[in-house]
Amino acid sequence: MEALEKREELIVIKSNLKKQQRQLFIRRFFANKLAVVGLAIIIFLILLSILGPLVISHDPYGMKVDDRLGAPSSIHLLGTDEFGRDLLSRIIYGAQVSMGVGFAVAAIASIVGMAVGLYASYYRVLDNVLMRICDGIMAFPAILLAIALMAALGASTNNVILSLSIVYIPYIARVVRSAALVVREETYIEAMKAQGASSWRIIWLHIAPNTLSPLIVQATFIFANAIIVEAALSFLGAGVPAPDPSWGNILYDGKKVIFTAWWMVVYPGICIVLSVLGFNLFGDGLRDLLDPHTNQAKK
């Protein structure tokens, strides 16, 4: 059974090579200090939102009239809000909401935007239709469109995700389309056509993987942006509805008492800045890492 032996040998080659390639990837990622810092911030925030609720002792919804607007103390580490709720636990629960919104928006916008971008790049007629719709959406400032959509859909966390996804789909679609237009002209796509590959196969198995690196980078920026816009929506009262905490609506509540309870504004603000910074640094790093030109130099 010579063929069988060969196959087994091939499996060994595969596992060795994959290990090598993974190591090289990791080594190159860690060579980029800023990206590592970004990743550390993201991991910290994710851990905070997942493990935080298990550690904290206060109920984020539990009101205590006596403790209204209490300054940071040994009991309430970050102080309390105007209903006497513990700020630290609200920020931790808010992390779940804000990061969850960011993640969901990035994921939905990426998947839909990718499909839109790919099909627009492949079929000329679709291109005109889809891209004009995208232009229309992009013509409005993100926040304005989000407010309008929220007004139409009604206030709920799911609607925040839905409306922000709609806002950000064109941004992904644009990036994917322009990458796909370049890939579409490559000879390996023509080679697949010469084999008689179906359009579906060419679009999803051959063009799509080559648009992933700009897409992933764009998605990290959208993640960060979604957190900001969600905060802004909440700040304007059109975001995640009370009593659910999000960084944005904590900030909104703090606005009214900014001169008496600075902690209401400063701590959620720090969280927003930190998460945006983390994702931006990470996205920048990924862009360098996934750029085929830098890979070429490594050859």
Binding site: R7, L10, I13, T187, E190, A194, L212, P292, N295
Partner: protein, 337 residues
């Protein structure tokens, strides 16, 4: 046996019964419309205009010409990567231009293509093994494990090793990539391979490796090649028969030795005399053509070559020369003959 008198050499030669052509191209035309931004038709580019030739089983037909002569377009229309405007291509008794898409799909397995640029012809995000497996998947050949076996076989055949299965294209040199491109074409066991400038992007020492490989595989697998290239010395080496194209038309079509030793069309003569020869002080009469190739949007009337032809006559400006058999099996489209 049929006999024929060769008047030139004054000998009697047996007529070799030509093998049945594998592919017969008749009157192939591809015209592109050039439209202005408002969608009005501005001009028609006759990229390929009335080209006919035959490919015989197990042989190599070389298609030469300078950039813009339509040789690559010809190759691509045969695979219907570009739909032809007119003409027929008889492959195994059927006109492949008339087939429906799903009928043609079966033919694609028999007609494969090798591309010029070894860098852009491989998907940078796919491991070599997967790139080679893809044609098998598309044509529904074999189970997963059988496909892996076939990929390993073909890697060996083109001079690569099993270790290369999981590598990415950027880890290979230009010559190795061209071997991979060849493997992708050969893995589905085709009858005809269209080679579009397969060695022109390679270094001299690598070029000869690939040419030898192409020839060895042709013998082993009984392949028929349509070899498209601009380098005449390469085409001469590998081809049994050569067709010369100029501005979308076939100007001369003859067996290799006959064409090289006795070029009849003035363009072929100029082309051959322009090839640099690696012998210092090599004495020959060099025909330097004046001017540039005219724009295919606005081709000259009469004979398309008359604007640059050193032997142009009055009739060339007005009348289109019909392709004639001037010497045995040697076809030329020129008013001189």
């Amino acid at each position: 046996m049929l006999m024929q008198v060769d008047k030139k050499h004054n000998t009697i030669q047996p007529i070799i019964e030509p093998s049945k052509p594998l592919l017969e191209v008749n009157g192939l035309k591809k015209h592109f419309s050039v439209r202005n931004p408002l969608g009005r038709l501005e001009a028609t580019v006759k990229a390929v205009n009335n080209v006919s030739f035959q490919l015989h089983e197990g042989q190599t037909y070389g298609l030469v010409g300078e950039s813009g002569c339509g040789k690559s377009t010809t190759g691509r229309t045969l695979l219907r990567l570009i739909e032809p405007t007119e003409g027929e291509a008889i492959f195994q008794g059927r006109d492949i231009f008339k087939l429906r898409k799903d009928e043609f799909q079966k033919i694609r397995q028999d007609m494969q293509m090798v591309f010029q640029d070894p860098y852009s012809s491989l998907n940078p995000r796919k491991r070599i093994g997967h790139t080679l497996e893809e044609p098998l998947k598309i044509h529904g050949i074999g189970k997963k494990s059988e496909r892996v076996d076939l990929v390993m076989d073909i890697l060996e055949k083109v001079g690569l090793r099993m270790e290369h299965f999981y590598r990415y294209p950027h880890e290979f040199s230009g010559g190795q990539r061209q071997r991979i491109g060849l493997a992708r074409a050969l893995i589905v066991n085709p009858k005809l391979v269209i080679c579009d400038e397969p060695v022109s992007a390679l270094d001299v020492s690598i070029q000869s490796q690939i040419i030898n490989l192409l020839r060895r595989l042709q013998e082993e697998l009984k392949l028929t090649y349509l070899f498209i290239a601009h380098d005449i010395s390469v085409v001469r080496h590998i081809s049994d028969r050569i067709g010369v194209m100029y501005l979308g038309q076939m100007v001369e079509d003859a067996p290799t030795d006959s064409l090289i030793s006795n070029p009849l069309h003035p363009y072929t003569q100029a082309l051959l005399s322009a090839v640099p020869i690696a012998k210092p002080n090599f004495q020959r009469e060099r025909i330097i053509l004046k001017g540039e190739i005219p724009s295919p949007m606005n081709p000259p009337s009469g004979c398309i070559f008359h604007t640059r032809c050193p032997k142009a006559m009055k009739i060339c400006k007005t009348d289109f020369p019909i392709i004639k058999e001037v010497a045995p099996d040697h076809f030329v489209g020129c008013h001189l003959y």
